[in-house]
């Protein structure tokens, strides 16, 4: 048996071919040279396989990953220091920090930043709280529980484009179903398109509709991993269902909640299709007064409507820095949480 006993190069047995074979060939009663050569070749191929195949297995991923993920990310930073026009994207002219200083003075940039934040909050907070509540209900023993699970997940199957176009129609001012329903209970119709808060609430509704069920299932999965005896002992102590939810379920779910907060935050910073298509005027301004233009949409407007790819890159990198800040804050928060436990 010439095969090394371990399966990793680190623990592999001393090589049986090459170096090891030569002296032995001198002392041992001459083995068939052809057989010996074959065995050498096999063991060499074997060690070669052990050493290099891990790289071969991760290589396809990293080649594509480097070409279409990592390189563009860094190159965006480089492009943000240049003036690049969409009409001639390969021609770049050095501009230094000009793109960034322009952003700093641009009121629409600040507006987009603020909108991204407010839309992010009014879409994420109710969404995750509702998801937690639904997950709690789904965790009871229910008839047709699988039906409910599938039903609340179906919005996840719709695309941003389809969902937004439908909701834009539902939120229509004159003939929309939402305003019609408000009229039924005697309320005035709301101008969902043009108000700042109303339009942001409408855009957030689309996000909430699409993602609440998905998050509920994530919470449900985490809830099912909570050991039953925690509830039993809480019940013995006379804790009501609500108390059990607050003092057993929620604390056990902390890591999962943190995870969904991070994922939703990242999702909120990328919001693009909803504010683009909610605008029935078909422009990328996020409403006549930029009232629901997000950073993602603003970047698109600068790059692909106003043709300034360099400025779009600067916006992209600003978003990246904001995300890094959020990640750092989050890591700090998570550590604080862990210490307090």
């Amino acid at each position: 048996m010439t095969a090394p006993s371990g399966f990793t190069p680190d623990t592999a047995a001393p090589p049986a071919g090459q170096g090891g074979a030569a002296p032995r060939a001198a002392t041992a009663p001459a083995p068939d040279p052809a057989e010996q050569r074959r065995r050498d070749r096999r063991s060499r191929r074997y060690r070669w396989d052990l050493r290099w195949s891990p790289y071969a297995f991760v290589a396809p991923f990293f080649v594509f990953f480097a070409a279409f993920g990592l390189f563009p990310l860094l190159y965006t930073g480089w492009a943000s220091l240049h003036q690049v026009e969409l009409t001639n994207p390969t021609h770049m002219e050095w501009a230094g920090w000009h793109n960034y200083s322009r952003l700093w003075e641009d009121e629409f940039f600040w507006k987009a930043l603020r909108n991204t934040f407010t839309i992010g909050v009014i879409s994420t907070v109710p969404q995750l709280m509702m998801a937690l509540g639904i997950a709690h209900l789904l965790n009871y023993r229910l008839r047709a529980s699988m039906f409910f699970r599938v039903a609340i997940l179906t919005p996840y199957a719709t695309s941003v484009a389809a969902a937004t176009l439908v909701f834009a129609l539902l939120f229509g001012h004159d003939y929309g179903m939402v305003n019609w329903s408000l009229g039924l209970v005697g309320l005035d119709g709301i101008d969902w398109q043009n108000g700042t808060w109303t339009s942001q609430i409408a855009v957030s509704t689309i996000v909430i509709w699409r993602w609440t069920g998905y998050n509920a299932l994530i919470y449900l999965a985490a809830m099912q991993a909570v050991p039953n005896d925690l509830y039993e002992s809480a019940a013995l102590d006379g804790a009501s269902r609500w108390k059990q939810f607050l003092h057993v379920t929620v604390p056990s779910l902390r890591p999962t909640i943190l995870f969904t907060v991070v994922v939703s935050t990242i999702g909120a910073t990328q919001l693009f299709g909803e504010p683009l298509l909610f605008n029935t005027a078909g422009t990328a301004t996020g409403g006549a007064d930029h009232q629901y233009q997000t950073l993602g949409l603003y970047m698109y407007e600068q790059g692909w409507v106003n043709l300034h790819l360099g400025r779009a890159s600067a916006i992209a990198w600003t978003m990246f820095l904001i995300l890094l800040l959020i990640a750092a804050a989050n890591a700090l928060f998570a550590r604080r949480l862990r210490k307090s436990q």
Partner: protein
């Protein structure tokens, strides 16, 4: 040496690998065993209606005429114009091409993501090599980076390669996924016993044989989940296709939909017919495989 013969016997589709560790899902220790009360059902039914209503209403709106949609009591039941609208969308607005394009894109991307994620995930889970931890950290770190950050250079690359309006512009950049690699690594770390690989090595199996005869059989459930999730995501992907493919060239479903809504007086019933066409395939998948999709998402949540 009868390596091939013996290995085939020991490598036989991973009987022990099937015993997924840490079962504990559903039944057994499933949270509380309390029955839901009437209020529980009422609230859940309300949420179900909220989840399904916009979809049902899309179908209602798609079955009406544009003029009917611009009248005050909005239609609450189906009309007779569905086939007409679908026909207009299919033939007049390029939705047939879009549907085919989206199927090709999502199918290719899902297949390649599953394949590359499984082998890379296996290497990260079970093999030892230099720079492994750095590479893994890199993979996880960039999972957090939104796609907007890479769009400008991607657009430049696509323009330079003259891929604008061609499907490969959408397919090639998404052939692999960091999430997929991480997902498969998490799964294989637990679900694939290291002894099984060692045994295969002892029998002289090459790495490729091990991938084929040990890893793939053990990874099959996770591969199915990842494939489904990637397919849905790729089908619904909007941002990058919207930039790389123009509406009137060679669109995917989502891009074609935005094309429908542009123009002076967009035909709302036509748009709704398009939305219905774009959503229907996934809805059918939900009706058929809803249970598996739900299970997959919950499983991914616990592992991830």
């Amino acid at each position: 040496m009868s390596a091939t013969v013996s290995s085939r016997r020991t490598l036989d589709p991973a009987a022990p690998a099937r015993t997924t560790p840490r079962g504990g899902k559903g039944r057994g220790r499933a949270g509380r065993q309390l029955h839901g009360g009437k209020i529980t059902y009422a609230v859940l039914i309300l949420f179900t209606i909220g989840s399904l209503f916009p979809l049902v209403w899309t179908a209602i709106a798609a079955s009406r005429t544009n003029t009917r949609l611009a009248q005050t009591p909005p239609p609450l039941w189906f009309g007779g114009n569905l086939l007409n609208n679908l026909d207009k969308a299919w033939n007049g607005a390029n939705m047939g091409t879009a549907l085919l394009n989206t199927t090709v894109v999502a199918g290719t991307v899902a297949a390649s993501t599953v394949l590359f994620s499984t082998i890379a995930g296996f290497a990260f889970a079970k093999l030892r090599f230099r720079f492994k931890n750095i590479l893994l950290m890199l993979t996880i770190g960039t999972m957090m980076v939104p796609p907007q950050l890479s769009v400008v250079p991607l657009y430049m690359m696509v323009a330079k390669l003259e891929w604008t309006d061609q499907l490969q512009a959408v397919i090639v950049p998404t052939l692999v996924s960091a999430f997929g690699v991480f997902f498969m690594r998490q799964y294989l770390t637990q679900a694939l016993p290291t002894e099984l690989i060692e045994a295969a090595r002892m029998d002289g199996a090459s790495s490729l044989r091990i991938i084929w005869h040990v890893v793939f059989p053990a990874a099959r459930p996770a591969m199915a989940v990842l494939g489904m999730l990637t397919f849905v995501q790729s089908w619904n992907d909007f941002f990058w296709p919207f930039i790389a493919l123009t509406q009137n060239g060679n669109p995917t479903m989502q891009v074609a939909l935005t094309g429908l809504s542009r123009g002076y007086t967009p035909d709302q019933s036509l748009i709704m017919a398009g939305a219905l066409l774009g959503t229907l395939p996934l809805l059918i998948a939900f009706v058929l495989f809803g249970k598996q999709i739900v299970g997959g998402i919950m499983q991914g949540a616990v592992k991830g």
